[in-house]
């Protein structure tokens, strides 16, 4: 066990955890941030995705000891009240069904738009290929990402 100081959603948090504990369980069990979901624990579904220094990381695959000074952003930290362009687009297109995968999909979309502000369908499919939506919302995800791209460009 060791104490780790983590930057989570712009706030410094300290946790007493074993060094190999995946960030997912630090967030969920120790910090009470349950927006990042457990779906498989082996990196096969994407439900646990977070941003680490703006890049998408599957939090079940990153140990707390490897975070260091990097900034963690979870879905709770994307915006104050659902106002991030991706969240707005998700609302506009009514993307969620059960909703369990959507924080991961939203994080992946936010990371994608940073790299490719106007992504093609192929870029979307590649960037979100590690994510499962068991309800099958993929068509609305694609549409919402295109909308978010417009919002991000036009709205900032």
């Amino acid at each position: 066990m060791a104490v780790y100081k983590l930057s989570v959603n712009g706030v410094e948090r300290s946790v007493d955890a074993v060094s190999d504990m995946p960030v997912l369980w630090v967030l969920r069990d120790m910090l009470g941030l349950t927006g990042s979901k457990y779906g498989c624990g082996v990196g096969s579904c994407g439900a646990c995705a977070i941003l680490v220094d703006g890049e998408e990381v599957l939090s079940c695959q990153m140990s707390v000891k490897d975070v260091g000074k990097k900034r963690i952003t979870t879905v709770e930290g994307l915006s104050k009240n659902g106002t991030h362009p991706v969240q707005k687009a998700w609302l506009q297109h009514d993307v969620p069904q059960c909703g369990y995968c959507q924080s991961g999909q939203i994080i992946a979309a936010a990371a994608l738009l940073k790299k490719h502000p106007r992504p093609t369908d192929a870029q979307i499919e590649s960037a979100l290929s590690s994510h499962i939506c068991r309800c099958g919302t993929y068509q609305r995800i694609r549409e919402a990402i295109h909308t978010a791209a417009g919002l991000a460009v036009g709205g900032k």
């Binding site: 066990m1 300290s14 946790v15 007493d16 074993v18 504990m21 995946p22 369980w25 069990d29 120790m30 009470g32 941030l33 349950t34 927006g35 990042s36 979901k37 457990y38 779906g39 498989c40 624990g41 082996v42 096969s44 579904c45 439900a47 879905v75 709770e76 994307l78 915006s79 009240n81 659902g82 969240q87 998700w90 609302l91 009514d94 993307v95 969620p96 069904q97 059960c98 909703g99 369990y100 995968c101 959507q102 924080s103 939203i106 499919e125 590649s126 979100l128 290929s129 994510h131 499962i132 939506c133 068991r134 309800c135 099958g136 919302t137 993929y138 068509q139 609305r140 995800i141 694609r142």
Partner: protein, 685 residues
């Protein structure tokens, strides 16, 4: 840090009580209950509706939401007949407690059709009480008043908001037989609404079972059988107990539970556990044996008429896991003589009774709280995980959060049964079906016993048809999976009818139309053919296939366009025409159909549960590789309302015709037929 609580989160779980367990939803009485609080009187005319002095209408949701959007649908139906202002409508979720009940279960596409008329009547009665209260204040005849968007208006244009009427309305007598609106006056039903939970979902605030926090809770995972039917011989937890954060390891009915201060410690502790099992009678069971046992159980086809052209085909379907993205989980707090459970359940009253039996206490002392469900598809009826968490909480005398890790979830499922459908059909010289013999055999283990699957429900008028069914008695637990028996039967029927059409030298759409008398089914088939451009020229390597389904009070027809290049099959586009009677929330209908198409793509081409040495070989989404965004075709959903005055079910109806539309499209490209699902080009015949 570890015991951090979240007040706003817990307030979401303010327990909604329940109506008496024996009270069917069809006869919930209107009653003028009122209660005062600091802010004023809340108008609570019945179990479903409250109107606060602030004008907020709160609708109690008596079904579980697993992504089908029932919380929104129910709220819309109530808001319509109450003439509520949609912006002032909130929902609260019923579980199973001592008063209000989420009863009857959420499944079989029964929620909307089952609740629709009763909810409308109840809401209309509540609206009438508000009107009478306003009329009394004005000293006018209630029949001269009308309502809109949360207000009562009189003939001279004066208005009073519902919030101002809560005290007076509570004194009114509930009408014996309130009349719902005619359909022509609908303002909310039939107009797409966003889901009531969307903002919570996109901000990460939505609470699923897995997110429930109870102060003082510990975390558990279970080391499980290495083969179906294996029994535990002994275990050694020496190494487990050395893992940082592990509290204990205890034997329970299903294995060894490892209890820890956090989930990770519990999983690490489980990895360190040494368990010896007697692998039992299924230790060598594999998918090949399942297949041959089912084939042996099929029986004999009836004779085909002499001189006719005889077509034979069989279709084999695998076990399917539900693989809800939120795996099975629950929090339970067993106390002396009572128990509270938080879990995503499709049948909270069933869970309540199960827990009461398990603990030997009255059901009224068991509360099941239902958060959002991260998918259901039939899996969350079984409550095996509830038994476990209750057993563990009772033993450790603490609230316990139990998680099925993904491998647990895939290997402890009640699968869609495996099955074989075998057909013999005869075509006359003029291209008519003059013989049809169907044989069905299912794995039929567990709760999906013989006779449950395989009921003939051909959507066609084929007078000569006979269908028989059998079970192979295989000890693999099975249960309901989206569309239940229709998930295997309809794909088989629709593939075989397509083969008969081909043998008759007829167009698959025209051949089907000639076999259909039901006008609603004819209509969806004609619509989908037109919208898809049936018969139009397609790029090389592309083909179209069609299939239909009727059931759950609704109708669907799909056309799939696929491309086949070498071994690669790609579903390019799927068009669906669906007749739900009334589409209460058209956007919700569209979402259900789009999702069912993805289920069809995944199960036609990608996933199966394979047994090796008595256990599912699949342990994650790497090998139970569900459809991903790159597999998702372009979809088009055309809602046709053919005049029926009640809504049909929507959860299941979109699935059973997707697989055959894809298989028939593959046949259109390759000239070869699928005999086994998921389809591989190398296995086409």
């Amino acid at each position: 840090m570890g015991s951090m609580t979240n007040v706003s989160r817990r307030s979401i779980f303010k327990i909604v009580g329940g109506i008496g367990a024996g009270l069917a939803l069809g006869c919930v009485p209107l009653r003028a209950a009122e209660r005062s609080d600091k802010k004023g009187v809340v108008f609570a005319p019945n179990e479903y509706i409250t109107v606060g002095p602030d004008g907020i209408v709160t609708v109690t949701i008596t079904r579980s939401d697993m992504g089908q959007g029932i919380r929104t649908t129910i709220a819309m139906i109530v808001a319509e007949e109450l003439d509520a202002d949609w912006n002032h409508v909130r929902v609260t979720q019923a579980g199973a407690g001592s008063k209000r009940v989420n009863g009857g279960g959420t499944g079989g596409s029964s929620s909307t059709p089952g609740l629709y008329n009763n909810l409308r009547k109840i809401a209309a009665g509540s609206r009438q009480m508000l009107v009478e209260a306003a009329a009394k204040q004005w000293g006018v005849d209630p029949s001269t008043c009308h309502t809109a968007a949360g207000k009562v208006f009189n003939a001279s244009g004066k208005a009073i908001s519902y919030g101002e009427l809560t005290a007076a309305a509570s004194l009114m007598t509930p009408p014996a037989d309130a009349k719902p609106k005619p359909r022509s006056e609908f303002k909310i039903i039939g107009k797409s609404k966003s889901r009531v939970d969307n903002l919570d979902v996109v901000t990460g605030r939505a609470i699923y079972g897995q997110d429930v926090h109870v102060d003082g809770m510990v975390f558990a995972v279970v080391s499980r059988r290495p083969a179906i039917g294996a029994t535990l011989k002994s275990f050694d937890a020496t190494a487990t107990k050395k893992v940082s954060g592990v509290i204990d390891a205890i034997q329970i009915a299903s294995g060894v539970a490892v209890i820890a201060t956090n989930t990770y410690a519990a999983t690490q502790g489980r990895d360190a556990l040494k368990v010896e099992w007697d692998n039992g009678p299924n230790a060598e069971l594999d998918s090949k044996q399942v297949s041959s046992k089912m084939r042996a159980a099929l029986g004999e086809h009836t004779e085909m008429p002499a001189g006719a052209k005889v077509v034979e085909a069989s279709y084999e379907f695998p076990f399917l896991a539900h693989a809800t993205l939120e795996p099975m989980n629950a929090v339970a707090d067993v106390k002396d003589g009572s128990c509270t459970v938080w879990t995503g359940s499709q049948a909270p009253t069933g869970a309540q009774q199960q827990v009461a039996r398990q603990l030997g206490i009255e059901a009224s002392n068991v509360t099941i709280n239902v958060p959002l469900l991260g998918g259901g598809f039939g899996r969350r009826f079984m409550h095996d995980w509830v038994s476990e968490v209750v057993e563990i909480s009772k033993a450790v005398k603490k609230p316990v959060k139990l998680l099925y890790t993904r491998d647990d979830d895939l290997r402890t499922d009640f699968y869609r049964p495996a099955g074989i459908r075998s057909f013999k059909g005869a075509i006359s010289s003029s291209g008519e079906i003059v013989g049809w013999s169907g044989l069905a055999a299912d794995s039929a283990g567990g709760r999906g016993g013989k006779g449950r699957v395989g009921k003939p429900a051909i959507p066609y008028d084929i007078p000569s048809a006979t269908n028989q069914q059998a079970g192979a008695g295989i000890a693999v637990p099975t249960g309901a999976w989206r569309s239940v028996e229709n998930s295997t039967n309809n794909p088989a029927y629709e593939c075989f009818v397509d083969e008969l059409a081909h043998a008759a030298g007829k167009d698959p759409v025209a051949f089907r139309q000639a076999l259909i008398s039901d006008p609603r089914l004819k209509h969806v088939l004609a619509t989908v053919a037109e919208k898809a451009g049936w018969g139009k020229a397609l790029p090389a390597g592309h083909g179209m296939g069609v299939a239909v389904f009727k059931g759950y009070g609704s109708y669907a027809a799909h056309v799939a366009e696929v491309s086949v290049k070498g071994d690669a099959i790609k579903v390019v586009r799927v068009v669906c025409a669906v007749d739900p009677g009334i589409a209460v929330n058209p956007r919700g209908v569209e979402a259900q159909i789009q999702g069912a198409i993805i289920d069809g793509v995944a199960t036609a081409l990608k996933v199966s549960i394979t047994l090796e040495k008595g256990l599912a070989a699949e342990t994650s989404y790497f090998d139970y590789n569900w459809a991903r965004i790159g597999d998702a075709p372009k979809t088009e959903v055309h809602i046709v309302e053919s005049g029926d005055n009640s809504p049909g079910g929507m959860g299941e109806v979109g699935y059973p015709s997707v697989i055959p539309a894809i298989a028939n499209a593959i046949a259109a490209v390759t000239g070869k037929r699928a005999r086994k699902f998921p389809i591989k080009v190398s296995e086409l015949v």
